[in-house]
């Protein structure tokens, strides 16, 4: 089985978000980058499937050279090889076109992604890739087992979960509790250094959206502290007017 795992390179979840150049550019000064948390579930599940069913795992990122340490981390977790499409991820459709192009060449049985990226939170790249390739896209997937050419899954729906089955190949957007995040061990880190990381040039596509200026939310006006339950109820009733 061949699995393609698509990962994002995103600011650590504790990062302070700010912008520069007249609020037109994300300020990456001092920001620590990580594999997107949902993508981290995808890679963890791929490694588990490799252990249980046998699989070759390719990780893929669309991004500049600065994403390579993040890609190496995915190799250290257990992916076998990596591909970096050498382009800034201009928008979701552009990224999806690049992923679909790589996927067409590689004839993968399964394409795993995160349910969404944590920078732009689009939640749409998996669907776009599925549509371009003409295969199902299923998200958010909370459980994934492979039996022969069939996958047995559960996914989140509004108000609960649903159990389903689909034939390979398809694209899945992963979320917990599909797997536990894996921390690379020393051996993984050592072998990751010599695993292949192929850089390919993008296929030309124009972006469908462009990012203009960025803004920060208005700060909270300050917390009103209650010294008793009665005072709290009074605030909720007469100040917030929610009771």
């Amino acid at each position: 089985m061949k699995i393609l795992v698509c990962i994002t390179h995103v600011p650590d979840t504790t990062s302070k978000i700010s912008f520069t150049e007249g609020d037109t550019k994300f300020d990456s000064t001092g920001v620590q980058y990580i594999i997107g948390p949902y993508d981290d579930y995808a890679i963890a599940r791929a490694v588990e499937l490799k252990e249980s069913n046998g699989a070759a795992i390719t990780v893929l990122n669309v991004g500049g050279v600065e994403t390579e340490p993040t890609i190496r981390k995915a190799l250290a977790i257990g992916a076998d090889e990596a591909i970096r499409v050498n382009a800034a991820p201009a928008d979701s459709l552009f990224v999806a076109q690049q992923i679909a192009h790589v996927a067409k060449d590689g004839s993968y049985d399964l394409i795993l992604m995160g349910r969404e990226s944590i920078d732009y939170n689009g939640g749409q790249v998996h669907a776009m890739v599925g549509e371009i390739l003409g295969i199902p896209s299923i998200s958010p997937v909370m459980k994934l087992e492979i039996e022969g050419s069939k996958a047995i899954m559960s996914r989140e729906i509004e108000g609960g979960k649903e159990f389903l089955e689909a034939e390979l190949p398809f694209v899945a957007g992963c979320q917990e509790p599909i797997a536990e995040w894996k921390i690379p061990n020393m051996r993984g880190i050592m072998t990751a250094r010599t695993k292949p990381l192929n850089v390919v040039e993008p296929v030309s596509e124009d972006a469908a959206v462009t990012y203009g200026t960025y803004e920060m939310p208005a700060p909270k006006s300050g917390v009103k502290m209650a010294s008793s339950v009665d005072e709290l109820v009074d605030l909720l009733k007469n100040d917030a007017k929610v009771l």
Binding site: T13, T14, I17, F19, P37, Y38, S92, L93, A96, I118, D119, Y120, N121, Q124, H126, A127, M128, G130, E131, I132, P136, S137, S139, E158, G159, G160, E162, F163, L164, E165, A166, F170, G173, Q175, E176, P177, A208, V209, T210, Y211, G212, T213, Y214, E215, M216, P217, K220, S221, V223, K224, M225, S228, V229, D230, E231, L232, V233, L236, A240, L243
Partner: protein, 313 residues
């Protein structure tokens, strides 16, 4: 301009988010056509006219796969000559939108938090970095897809009923490519994603056996229950209740956080709430900085008192 709005319903009732989406599209201007996939009662659908829809098109079917929903949406857009698609944020809205965007060569924006600015092209404000910032995004293609967040516009309620008609779309069998084998409803009477009030608790509660008082408070308020990530990781509560950056993002009128420290990843899932109440023994807890109201104290004393006080109102 002609706008198609996809309608979600559950147990025969149209979701609040869908009524907001119709109201949003109406404020954009142009002809608003609501599209209901699957079954919903006709009088309920007709009432979308009050929110501004000129017509409701229904397409019967199960729509288990995103693919068949996307095919139906794209076909209806073509049939009515729509240039814009509006969806209310949901577990599958962005996925349906993504597939339609490819079919229609459309520009798409998710997490839209304001009406479009058309003074110079077409741009919308979207929430990014899990609510920690906003981006103004220009949509350059002729066709546009907007996935609108909750509570962006007030629901318009002054129109008359809309005509409801059955649409005809041709969904290839190849799109029906998943088999649903069962469903499991989340516990609790109120759906977390739709709730107007959320009562959420964290590791400060010490163990799953202490959730009875949380459920009692939620019941008294007609609220849904939520929790922090460690609580669901330890299986004290189901994963469907996990709120935050890597869990459910909620935007209720009132969010009550009990024994939750207020880690940035938790805040990312609740920062769109209108009012936040924090109950914590530690006056230094980070959550107080993001709160509107707070009380320092032991949840085990405060929660039963609060429940009684609310019942007495």
């Amino acid at each position: 301009m002609s706008i198609v709005v996809v309608i979600d319903s559950a147990d025969g009732t149209i979701k609040k988010g869908s009524r907001e989406a119709v109201s949003y599209a109406t404020q954009m201007g142009g002809d608003v056509i609501a599209l209901a996939l699957g079954d919903a009662p006709e009088n309920e659908l007709a009432s979308l006219g009050k929110n501004g829809a000129s017509k409701v098109i229904t397409v019967a079917g199960e729509f288990h796969s995103i693919q068949e929903a996307a095919t139906a949406v794209a076909e209806v857009m073509n049939n009515v000559g729509a240039d814009t698609l509006v969806l209310a944020q949901s577990a599958k809205a962005s996925a349906i939108g993504g597939r339609v965007a490819v079919k229609q060569g459309a520009s798409m924006a998710s997490n839209v938090v304001a009406l479009p600015d058309t003074a110079n092209g077409f741009s919308v404000k979207t929430s990014i970095f899990s609510g920690k910032a906003f981006a103004n995004v220009s949509l350059s293609k002729e066709k546009k897809i907007l996935v609108v967040s909750k509570n962006v516009v007030d629901i318009k309620e002054d129109g008359g009923d809309a005509v409801v008609e059955a649409g005809s779309v041709n969904i290839p069998d190849a799109d029906k490519n998943i088999t649903v084998t069962g469903q499991e409803k989340a516990s609790g009477d109120v759906l977390l994603t739709d709730a107007d009030i959320v009562v959420s608790a964290g590791r400060g509660l010490k163990g799953p056996e202490n959730w009875g008082m949380i459920e009692d408070l939620a019941k008294a308020l007609g609220a849904a229950t939520g929790c922090s990530k460690p609580v669901s990781d330890m299986d004290w509560r189901p994963h469907s209740e996990h709120v935050g950056q890597t869990g459910i993002k909620v935007a209720p009128t009132l969010y009550i956080a009990i024994g939750i420290s207020g880690a940035i990843q938790h805040l990312a899932g609740v920062n769109s709430s209108k009012h936040i109440v924090v109950i914590n023994t530690d006056e230094e807890a980070l959550f107080f900085k993001a709160a509107d109201y707070g009380i320092v104290g032991d949840a085990f004393e405060i929660i039963p008192q609060l429940t009684e006080a609310i019942k007495a109102l």
